[in-house]
């Protein structure tokens, strides 16, 4: 079997990625020359204490923010030089987000929450939404509203939503942080299943089970990568 050149390129290629915030007169170096790559199909966990720069890194990888310096390539496209509009376009086509607090809109049903990113991407999505809800075991809840779901169910809906635009990269910020351990384990299993199907997954987590489930771990401290394998 041969692989295409695109399949050989990393999904993430960060080189000397730096992000400096201005807080009053003080400059805060949230990320300091971080370099790493994530290959296609990898399951990577990023760990580190609070304030280590995990969320800043996730924001840069998710094209939510621009780096102060350094280069970032996402799915073989340069991100660091893109303007806001191009970053939005890349984000909606390449990245799926999962948040610690689920981020479901309370006034929409489960199915409507799932198709929301497809609406922004101007895609038709009803059939895929049903398929994804079936995949996460919540098709029977598609007309319910978020307040009628348990925490685990809400996170499953959020995962289905993150997958609606067929992203190359799934970014998750503490996806088990608001769940009990049993529910958290089921979410970890879902991540493993998605990764086994070929999806590149990068998770920021404090959860030891999640970290162990990832095939690769990166540790951040004071804005620098201190450990990785």
């Amino acid at each position: 079997m041969t692989t295409s050149p695109q399949e050989n390129t990393p999904v993430i290629a960060a080189q000397a990625l730096t992000k400096i915030y201005q807080r009053g007169r003080e400059q805060v170096r949230a990320l300091d020359a971080v370099s790493f790559t994530v290959a296609r199909g990898e399951f990577t966990a990023i760990t580190g204490p609070s304030g280590a720069g995990k969320s800043t890194l996730l924001n840069l990888l998710g094209c939510m923010d621009a780096p102060t310096s350094g280069t970032l390539r996402l799915d073989d496209r340069e991100v660091h030089s893109l303007d806001e509009r191009a970053r939005t376009e890349l984000r909606r086509s390449t990245v799926g987000f999962v948040f610690q607090h689920f981020g479901l809109l309370p006034t929409l049903t489960v199915a409507e929450n799932v198709v929301l990113p497809a609406l922004f991407a101007r895609r038709s999505s009803a059939r895929r939404a049903e398929m994804l809800l079936e995949k996460v075991g919540l098709l029977h809840r598609r007309t319910h509203r978020p307040h009628e779901l348990s925490g685990g169910e809400m996170q499953r809906v959020a995962i289905a939503r993150a997958l609606i635009n067929e992203p190359r990269l799934l970014l998750a910020d503490e996806p088990t942080g608001n769940l009990d351990s049993a529910t958290g384990d089921s979410i970890i299993s879902l991540f493993q299943q998605l990764n086994a199907e070929g999806l590149t997954v990068l998770v920021v987590t404090h959860n030891a089970v999640m970290t162990a489930a990832a095939r690769r771990q990166l540790a951040l401290r004071d804005g620098r990568l201190t450990d990785g394998k």
Partner: protein, 393 residues
Amino acid sequence: MNWLKLSLAGWRLRPLRTGVTAAGVGLAVAAWFSLLSFQAGYRDGMKNELARLGAHILVVPKGCPYDAASIALHGASWPCYLPAAYLDEVCAAPGVTTAAPAFMTALHEGTSTNTVYVGVDKKFLRLRPAWQIRGRFPQATNELLLGSEAATRWRWQVGQTVPLPGLTNATGLVSGILGPTHGAEDDFIYLRLADAQHLFAHPRQLTHILVRLADPNALDRAVTHLRGCDAGMDMNIVPLAHLFHTIQSLVNSTRLLLGCVAAVALLVAAAGVGNTILMAVAERTREIGLMRALGASRADIFRLFWWETMQVCLVGGVGGLAFAFLASRVLENWLRARLPFAPVDALIRWEWWAAAAGLAGAALVGSIAGFLPAWRAARLSPVLAMRSTGGDA
């Protein structure tokens, strides 16, 4: 799921506040609609009433010409009279094809209603070519022609001898009943001019003369002649076209004032809408950040909040139009009691163009009021918005 549904979802977060804001827009639109509709209704009503007179010039005794016109149009007792001999001078004016003399008076009948008697001769029929008479125009002494509503009210029939309302020991023979004219005339009782002068003890006197010209463009010449003739000092020559323009300009000056009030109402509504949407943006900052993370562009966010504003305004506008329509009868009665020259036709009626103008006003309010909040929402940094505590997302 579509954009409309997504923007409607915003309503569910704060239904009461959204409803109150929409009601503010609705009241402003109702005011606009009523004003525009009234202006059109009054103008058309006046035009119809003056057209129903069938004359180009109204000759009345000296006094206020507008009062005289109102009395001639709606029927009432006249405070002073013209000598019948003046009719010859009016007939002799250049371009006059018909000069129809009339004697009008109104008698109180009970506590509230008046019975209007109008004495005319056959020349009057030349001014009313559209009249449809069941029976015949009064030709003999004591014969009466009843307006359609008068006949219905008293249940009188052609050929019946009836007591004359408001008079004692006086009777008349109903010679004809007039088809509906949809004007004040439907309530009048017509009789021969000589009978009216005799009955009300004003022999050889008239209340007004209706003058029709061969060529309406020759109005100024005829008016100049009539004002310059021997009787001109004792008569008021009222060109009805001028009367229409004068009354209309009086109404227009009031409209300007009312228009300013309605404009202020729209501005207040716009401020209310803007404030509501600004609060919504502040409360939903985190939701905005979330949507940006999920792929929404700045234009998407702008559109979302702008649409929400437009929906509030358009729903308020439709509600305001419905309210104005339902309340139009009450408002009309209130206005009618205060206007000196209110035509009998509906003053406030459903006008599609006025409704469209009201909705356009609501949309304009939405566009203006929604721009700043939508722009602010679109300019939010997705990272900072996600860190915000505003919103439930």
